[in-house]
């Protein structure tokens, strides 16, 4: 059995909010995740990271590319085979307030996927649901309660329990702690880390928060305007980035120790619209190292040391 669990190649998703307007939300995204690995996907809001995550889960249909999950082709799967793949990869959402059906009891939310996939029914399903709740740190008495009776952090735990109900191999966590209070963020992160180790889960961890990704992930990919600009081990990419954009992201982050604070970098301009991306390297209008060829020739993502980078400086 191969060590690679998820392999994404050339994923692309364009939106057409109006006629003759094309938003290139995800232009060309490739990465792979090993079994049990925590892989981070970072970038500013609007860079396409959430769209990429949803496209590989087929929550939205990608326009091009291939996604292989444990040997199965995700993008061509239909009907029963798609359902079987869905069981093996689950998602945890950012907003705990909209991720649970307000009219469904917690017990219902946890047992429904078991019933749909024929894993368990009736009393057996309820027993499993109670165990899941305990696993995420909630009392089994919560089974008969409704979502509005829980706090944001508690709801996020329920959302995690629901994702575990199908015993998946991969969890896509889309900004799982961004909507939570800082005090609750740490608890939920610890829970995720604990589950990852205990169940051997792989994670695709989508976040804009570099410190959270640094703590949780082993590898990370940095996205900019629908493309991955740099990829590699988390410590190396976030400490000594090769791509000027990754460096900018790092420098924009507050450092707790005043002694280590660098001068705030010059940030030129804002992210261009994904509806009208610049030619060549998408980052060149904001890049301090921009060269003439950057505005004409898009750099390819090339392997470099233990990762990959898409920049003419490192071509």
């Amino acid at each position: 059995m191969s060590d690679t669990l998820l392999e994404v190649r050339g994923l692309r998703k364009h939106f057409h909010p109006k006629r003759r307007v094309t938003v290139r939300a995800v232009e060309d995204v490739s990465f792979s995740i090993r079994r049990g690995e925590a892989f981070g996907l970072v970038g500013e809001s609007g860079c396409g990271k959430s769209t990429a995550a949803r496209a590989l889960l087929r929550l939205i249909e990608p326009d091009a590319g291939s996604v292989r999950f444990g040997g199965a082709d995700v993008l061509t799967a239909r009907g029963a085979s798609l359902k079987a793949i869905r069981r093996r990869m689950q998602i945890v959402f950012q907003d705990p307030y909209s991720s649970l059906d307000p009219r469904q009891s917690i017990g219902g939310a946890l047992t429904e996927p078991m019933r749909v996939h024929g894993i368990a029914e009736g009393r057996d399903a309820r027993r499993r649901a109670g165990a899941l709740l305990e696993e995420v740190g909630l009392p089994p008495a919560a089974l008969d309660r409704y979502p509005h009776e829980f706090s944001g952090g508690q709801r996020q735990r329920i959302g995690i329990a629901r994702a575990l109900a199908l015993e998946p191999e991969l969890i896509v966590a889309d900004e799982p702690v961004s909507a939570l209070d800082v005090s609750v963020q740490a608890q939920v992160l610890l829970l995720l880390e604990d589950l990852r180790r205990r169940r051997g889960l792989a994670f695709l961890f989508v976040s804009h928060d570099l410190s959270v990704v640094r703590w949780f992930c082993e590898r990370v990919a940095v996205m900019y305007l629908g493309r991955i600009v740099e990829e590699g081990p988390v410590a190396r990419v976030l400490n000594a980035p090769l791509h000027p954009y990754a460096a900018m992201l790092r420098d924009a982050y507050p450092v707790p120790d005043p002694a280590h604070r660098a001068a705030l970098p010059r940030i030129i301009g804002e992210i261009p619209s994904a509806a009208a991306p610049p030619p060549g390297c998408p980052f060149h209008p904001r890049c301090v190292h921009a060269m003439p060829r950057c505005s004409t020739e898009p750099p390819a993502l090339l392997a470099k040391d233990d990762g990959a980078v898409a920049c003419h400086l490192h071509g």
């Binding site: 689950q90 059906d101 009219r103 749909v116 740190g137 829980f150 508690q154 610890l190």
Partner: protein, 293 residues
């Protein structure tokens, strides 16, 4: 590391609909409306036991009797007891409107929900059709349909249901558009739920209260349209008592016996008013904008 630290749960709170109902109960308008409506419903249900006379039996000797005396509300041009006819007429009003609203709620609600869920061009075309239906005055549409199908009870139900489908489609579609963007619908898809399951097990329960409130508001309209059609002569055929038909008969004898038009007219007014009062209170109670007052 212990993550299974017991997290304390807040005490149980009632759900949204229950709170809305509790608020509506505290509203004097709703309460008054409920009392009026219940009295009329009770009269209709108990008609065979409380009606003093047979509603269709003619008694020419006692024709056009004034209210009071042997006949509580007088008699009509055939000597039939107006009060008894009103009790039986309530049955037609209630059965036709309930049937029509139930039918409109199911078809219109399903159309709106499915159309909003599918979205895109399908939704655009469906809603265009609904707009066309909506822009047609309900009385004219009902009138045409009954005229063409024939004045039978079930045709009245169909005609009135047809006039109410578009508003139910709209009221069901709007929250569906919001709901389908919520993460729990996406979660359902990620867990491999079928579209049918998502529609009927997850979206439907969340839009039901809005559709039901709309139903109570449209009940009033349905009663009014049924009465209007009967008044024009397109209601359930005589000698069956209908409020609109009785008003029409009374209107034709308005110089000799004005009460003949006044009482059935009042009955229609009261039922419509009662239903409107209930619907009004329910809507206020479920309207999120009015909640935090």
């Amino acid at each position: 590391m212990s993550t299974a630290a017991e997290v304390e749960l807040a005490p149980t709170r009632p759900s949204g609909l229950k709170r809305a109902l509790a608020r509506a109960r505290g509203n004097p308008t709703t309460l008054a409306g409920a009392i009026i409506t219940l009295l009329i419903v009770a009269g209709a249900v108990l008609a065979p036991w409380i009606a003093p006379f047979d509603p269709t039996e003619q008694n020419i000797i006692d024709r056009l009797q004034s209210p009071g005396g042997d006949y509580l509300l007088g008699t009509d041009q055939f000597g039939r007891d107006v009060f008894s006819r009103l009790l039986y007429g309530a049955r037609i009003s209630l059965v036709v409107s309930l049937g029509a609203i139930a039918a409109a709620m199911v078809t219109g609600g399903t159309i709106g929900m499915v159309s909003g869920y599918i979205g895109g061009r399908f939704d655009l075309i469906t809603m265009q059709v609904m707009d066309v239906l909506l822009s047609f005055p309900s009385l004219i549409l009902g009138l045409m349909v009954v005229a063409l199908l024939g004045p039978e009870l079930e045709n009245l139900v169909i005609a009135i249901a047809l006039t109410a489908i578009a508003p139910f489609a709209r009221i069901a579609r709007a929250p569906t558009l919001v709901l389908k963007e919520r993460a729990f619908i996406e979660a359902g898809r990620a867990m491999g739920f079928s579209h049918l399951r998502i529609l009927f097990a997850h979206i439907l329960p969340n839009i039901l209260s809005e559709v039901l409130v709309m139903g109570s508001l449209w009940m009033a309209t349905a009663v009014r349209v049924e009465a209007s059609l009967s008044f024009i002569g397109l209601g359930v055929k005589p000698p069956t008592a209908t409020w609109g038909g009785m008003t029409r008969d009374g209107f034709e004898n308005i110089l000799d016996a004005p009460w003949l038009a006044v009482f059935p007219g009042l009955a229609i007014l009261l039922l419509v008013l009662g239903l409107n009062m209930i619907g009004d209170g329910l809507r206020d109670a479920t309207d999120p904008k009015l909640r935090n007052e």
